[in-house]
Assembly symmetry: C2
Homo-oligomer: 557 residues x 2
C-alpha cells in the first residue's frame, strides 16, 4: 500500500485489453514541450511572443529564430546528447535556447550569472558543454572560467542592445550571426523517448561541488501543464520575467507561457521602475519571484510607481512574506500564490491552494494559512511528510516534524554522473527533499526547517525557521538567521545572527526578551550576533558559514 | 521528416544523460486521471462535487463513494482487467463509475441507453462484461439483452430517486447496497502501466457490428488536461451534464472537472427548463452538447427561460450551428467553442481556436470562421489533412480535399479484439478519421464530408455537406441529408432527402432551383425526396439507409 492509499494492479497478459494493442506511431508520441511552440506558432503566428524593450517578436518569428538556433548549433557540430551552456540575463536568446537547444537534440545548461569563475569552470567541465552562448556582460568572468577548463568549448557571443557596457568578445561568432547563417534546410529534432534529457541545472551547493540536476522532456511537459493548472491560467497571459530564467529553467515558464500562447516580457535588469512600467504598459498579468520582488514593489518611491488596471497574479516560492507585506502587495492589485519546490523537482511542486473561505479570516490568520507550502501540484503524484527512518507518514497534527518526500512526474531524472547521490536522494522510492515540515490536519504541509538546520537543544527539536519568524516580527530586525551553537549543558542552543535597521539602538537582551515573549522559552536564542549575513550567489543565506562562526564564538559570549 | 517538420533524435547510449538515470519509483509514475480525485478530495474535501436535484455530495463524499464502489465491485469478484458495464443517464452513479470501476482495476464500459437489445447483447458479449450496473429505467431492454447473451453477468440495480417510473429489478443487489456493504479495508488500484485500459466505448456503427474503442490511463489523463487547456479553464468550474456521459466518456469531462475541483451538475433529463434552472440556480459556467441543445435554448418558451448573470462557456462538436443560431446563443450570454473529434480520439481532438480579431468580422463571416474544425488540441501531437494514397499533406488552399489524419497522445489504444481494424485505422503511422476536409491557408481544418459520403459525379467530387448547407439556407427546409444516387450518365448524382417545415408548399423544382442559385450547377441535387429522416440512437442521420433508398428509386423519379 502506498501512502496515498493505493496499490498498483497490472492487467493480466492474457487480457483482451493487452492483446494486439501495442503502442504505435499513430497513438503514442513522446511527451515534450517542444511541440508547444510548433502549435502556438501555427495557430497564432501574429501574436506577440516576446517583448524586449523596443523589440517585439511574433510567434512566427520566435519559431523561426528557435529553428535557426537549432540549425546554427548543428552547424557548429552540436549533436543529440550534447550539452549547450548559456549565460545570459532574462533576454530573448535565453528564452530561445529553451527551444533551439533541444531542437538540436542537445541539453540546455543555463548558468547562474552570479557564480564565480571556478564554479562556472567546474560546471562547464562536469556538464561537458561543447558550446557556450555568452552574454557580453559576463565575458570577463567567463573568460576566466574558460581558462580554467580543459575542454575545447566554442563560444558564441550574445550582444544585447540593452547592455550599456562594452561588448567584450570571447568567440568569433555572434548569436545573431549564428542565426543568420543557419542552414534553412535543417530539420529540428524531437526526442525519440520522452525520458531523454532536455535540461541540466546545477544546484547552488552551499557546501562542496554543485550537483547537476537532469530534467527530461516528459517532466518538462508535465511541469509546464502543472503551472497552468495551479494558476488556472487562461489563454494569452502576459508574463513578466522577474524570476531568473537560469533558476530551474525559470521554474519552466519558458514552456508554460508558450503552451498558453502568452507574451514573454523580458527584463535585463529587475528594478521597481521597470517592473511598474511593464505592469502599466505591457499589461502584465503574471509574474514570479522571491519575496524580495514584493519588497521592491511595496517600498518603491512614488516616482517609480505606475498605476495599472488589470489584476496581476504573482507566484512566490518557499518563504512566504509577512502578513504586512502581503497586504501591501494585494493593495497594489497583485494576488499572491505561494509555491514551494527545489531544483530537483523542476521548481515548484507544491502550492498553497487557496480557499475562498480564507478571505474572511483576520489578516494575520490568513497570512499564516498562506504561508504554508501547501499541497502537491496535480502533476506531482506523491507528497508526504515522513519519518525518514521508517518511511511512514507523520501524523497530520501540525506538530510532528518529518521530512518532505515527493514522487512522480515532476521529480528529476537524477543527478548527472552521480549514482551515489541518486541512490540517497531516491532511497525508498521517494525523493528526499531534505526539508523538515509538519503536516496540518487539513493536509497542508508547512516547512519547519532544512534537515541540517534543525537545532536539538536538551533533546527538543527547535526549528530555526520558527525562531527566525519571531525575530522578523521585531520591528528593528531587517534580516535574521538562526543556527545551532554547541552548548555544554543543552547540546545545542539557538544562535541568532541579526541585521538591524539603520539607526536602531536595540540590544541583544532586548531581542532575546522579545523572542521569549513570542516563543517557548527554550526556543529563544541564547546568543545574538549583530552584522550583515553571508549569502550565496542566488541570495540564500550561507548557514554553513554561520554555523562555523557560531562554533568559534568565545564561550563567554 | 514528419509532416510537422521534425525528426526524432535519440541520445547515444554512451551519453552521460543515459547512464545511471533510469526510471525509479521516485521519479516515474503512470499517468492516470484517478489521482485527480484523491488530490481534489484531499485539498477541497468540503467543496460540492456533485449536484443531483436535492442531493449534494462533497468531494470527501464523492471520494468515499468511489472507493466503496471499487471495494463493492471487488467483493463481487471483479479483478484487474475485467470489464464493468453500466447503463444510466447522467446521474451520480455513472460519474462515480469513472473512478470506482478503474479503482477496482477494471475497465469501464458505459452503454448508450438508446441502443436496442441486440446491440447491447453484442456489446456485453464482445466486451466480456462481468458486472452490469443497470439504471431501472432501462431494465426492460437490458432484461431482453441479457437473455440474448451466453455470459453470466451479475447485475446491480441503480434506483435513482429522480426516475418517476417503476423500479424494475434485474439483480438481487442495489447500487446503494453495494456501496453500503463494501469492505472498508479494500485498497483501490492504480495502473501498473499507464498504457493499461481504463474505458471501452463502442462506436455507434451505422453499418455492421460496433467496434470497441479502448482508452488507456495515459490518454485519459492527457485528454482531461487538454480540455482544461483548450477552454483556459480556471478552478472550480460548475459543469452541467447536457452531454451524455456514455458518449466518449462524456468527452472525458468526468476527469477534467475533478482535476479542476469543479462541481458536476447532473441531469437525468435534458430539457430547456431544467437547463435554464441549472444556469440560474447552480450558476453553471460550462456545458457541452450537440447543436440540438442550442436549439433547445434559443427556441425555449418564455415560461421556461430564467435569467443568469455569469458568462457560460459551451463546447459543441462536429457540425457548427448556423450564424443565426450562434448569434442568439451568444445573446443569451453563452460563448461557444467549436470542437471536433471521434470516439477513437477520446472525443474532441481539434478546436476552432478563437482569435480576438474575429469579433470585428460581419456575423456571417465570423460564423464561417467558427464553423471550421480548427487546429489540434495541445495534447494531440499531429493533425494533417492528407492524401491517403500518398500520405502527403494536401496544400493549405482551402480547396483540395484530403482525409483528416491524427497522431499522438489523444488517439485510442485501439479496437478491442480487432487487429485488422487497427491495422487499417493506424496505417502509415496515423489514425485515419475517415473524414474528408480541406486545410485553409491559416492551417485551420474544415470538414467537407465523410469518406463514404462523398459523391463523385462526372469525375468531380461533390461534398454532401456543402449541398446540405445550401439546402439548409432555404427557409422552408427543416432537415436535409444528401447522398449519392447511381446515375447512368454521371456515375453518381446528388440525391437530397428533405424534411420541410409544417405548412410549406415548396416543390422539388423550387428546391433544385434554389440550390442552383447557391452552388455550382453540377452540385445541385438532381433528385429531391420529401419526408422524415432515419436516425441512429445518438441522433445521427443514417445515411446508409438513405443510400439504399436512393439506389432503389425508380429511375423515372
Amino acid at each position: 500500500m502506498t501512502p496515498t492509499g493505493f496499490r498498483t494492479g497490472a492487467h493480466p497478459p492474457a487480457s483482451a485489453y493487452e492483446r494486439d494493442l501495442d503502442r504505435t506511431a499513430a497513438n503514442h508520441a513522446p511527451l515534450t514541450p517542444l511541440t508547444f511552440l510548433e502549435r502556438t506558432a501555427s495557430v497564432y503566428p501574429e501574436h506577440v511572443a516576446v517583448v524586449h524593450g523596443p523589440t517585439r517578436h511574433t510567434y512566427a518569428e520566435l519559431n523561426d529564430r528557435c529553428r535557426r538556433l537549432a540549425a546554427g548549433l548543428a552547424g557548429l557540430g552540436v549533436a543529440p546528447g550534447d550539452t549547450v551552456a548559456i549565460m545570459a540575463p532574462n533576454i530573448p536568446p535565453l528564452l530561445e535556447a529553451h527551444y533551439g537547444v533541444p531542437m538540436a537534440g542537445a541539453v540546455l545548461n543555463a548558468l547562474n550569472y552570479r557564480l564565480d569563475a571556478a564554479s562556472i569552470a567546474f560546471i562547464l567541465e562536469h556538464g561537458e558543454a561543447t558550446v557556450l552562448l555568452a552574454d557580453s556582460e559576463f565575458a570577463p568572468v567567463l573568460r576566466e572560467a574558460l581558462a580554467q577548463t580543459t575542454r575545447s568549448i566554442q563560444v558564441v557571443d550574445i550582444q544585447d542592445d540593452a547592455f550599456r557596457g562594452q561588448h567584450e568578445r570571447l568567440g568569433s561568432l555572434t548569436y545573431e550571426e549564428l542565426l543568420a547563417r543557419a542552414d534553412p534546410a535543417f530539420v529540428p529534432y524531437l526526442p525519440a523517448d520522452e525520458w531523454q534529457a532536455i535540461a541540466l541545472n546545477y544546484t547552488s551547493g552551499t557546501t562542496g561541488n554543485p550537483k547537476g540536476v537532469v530534467y527530461h522532456h516528459r517532466g518538462a511537459h508535465l511541469n509546464a501543464v502543472g503551472n497552468v493548472l495551479v494558476w488556472g491560467m487562461g489563454h494569452h497571459p502576459v508574463y513578466l520575467w522577474t524570476l531568473p530564467m537560469f533558476h530551474c529553467n525559470g521554474w519552466c515558464f519558458p514552456w508554460t507561457i508558450v503552451l498558453q500562447a502568452g507574451t514573454h516580457v523580458c527584463l535585463r535588469r529587475v528594478e521597481a521602475g521597470t517592473i511598474f512600467a511593464a505592469l502599466a504598459e505591457e499589461r502584465v498579468t503574471h509574474l514570479c519571484g522571491a519575496p524580495v520582488i514584493m519588497g521592491m514593489l511595496v517600498n518603491a518611491p512614488a516616482a517609480e510607481r505606475r498605476p495599472f488596471a488589470q489584476t496581476v497574479r504573482m507566484m512566490t516560492a518557499a518563504s512566504a512574506p509577512p502578513a504586512a507585506v502581503l497586504e501591501k502587495v494585494e493593495a497594489l492589485g497583485i494576488e499572491v500564490t505561494h509555491v514551494y519546490g527545489l531544483t530537483e523537482v523542476y521548481g515548484p511542486a507544491t502550492v498553497c491552494a487557496f480557499h475562498e473561505a480564507w478571505r474572511e479570516l483576520p489578516a494575520a490568520e490568513r497570512a499564516s494559512r498562506l504561508a504554508r507550502q501547501g499541497v502537491r501540484y496535480p502533476v506531482l503524484e506523491g507528497l508526504e511528510v515522513m519519518d525518514p527512518a521508517t518511511m511512514e507518514p507523520v501524523p497530520a497534527d501540525g506538530a510532528t516534524i518529518g521530512e518532505i518526500m515527493m514522487r512522480g512526474h515532476d521529480v528529476m531524472k537524477g543527478y548527472l554522473k552521480n549514482p551515489e547521490a541518486n541512490a540517497t536522494a531516491f532511497a525508498g522510492g521517494w525523493f528526499h527533499t531534505g526539508d523538515l515540515a509538519v503536516s496540518h490536519p487539513d493536509g497542508y504541509v508547512e516547512i519547519r526547517d532544512r534537515s541540517k538546520d534543525i537545532i536539538i537543544s536538551g533533546g527538543e527539536n527547535i526549528s530555526s525557521i520558527e525562531v527566525e519568524g519571531a525575530l522578523y516580527r521585531h520591528p528593528d530586525v531587517l534580516e535574521a538567521a538562526v543556527v545551532a551553537r554547541p552548548d555544554e549543558t543543552w547540546g545545542e542552543s539557538p544562535c541568532a545572527f541579526v541585521t538591524l535597521r539603520d539607526g536602531s539602538t536595540v540590544t541583544a537582551a532586548d531581542i532575546i526578551a522579545h523572542c521569549r515573549r513570542e516563543l517557548a522559552h527554550f526556543k529563544a536564542p541564547r546568543t545574538i550576533v549583530f552584522g550583515p549575513l553571508p549569502k550565496t550567489s542566488t541570495g540564500k543565506v550561507q548557514k554553513f558559514q554561520l554555523r562555523e562562526r557560531a562554533r568559534s564564538l568565545d564561550t563567554q559570549d
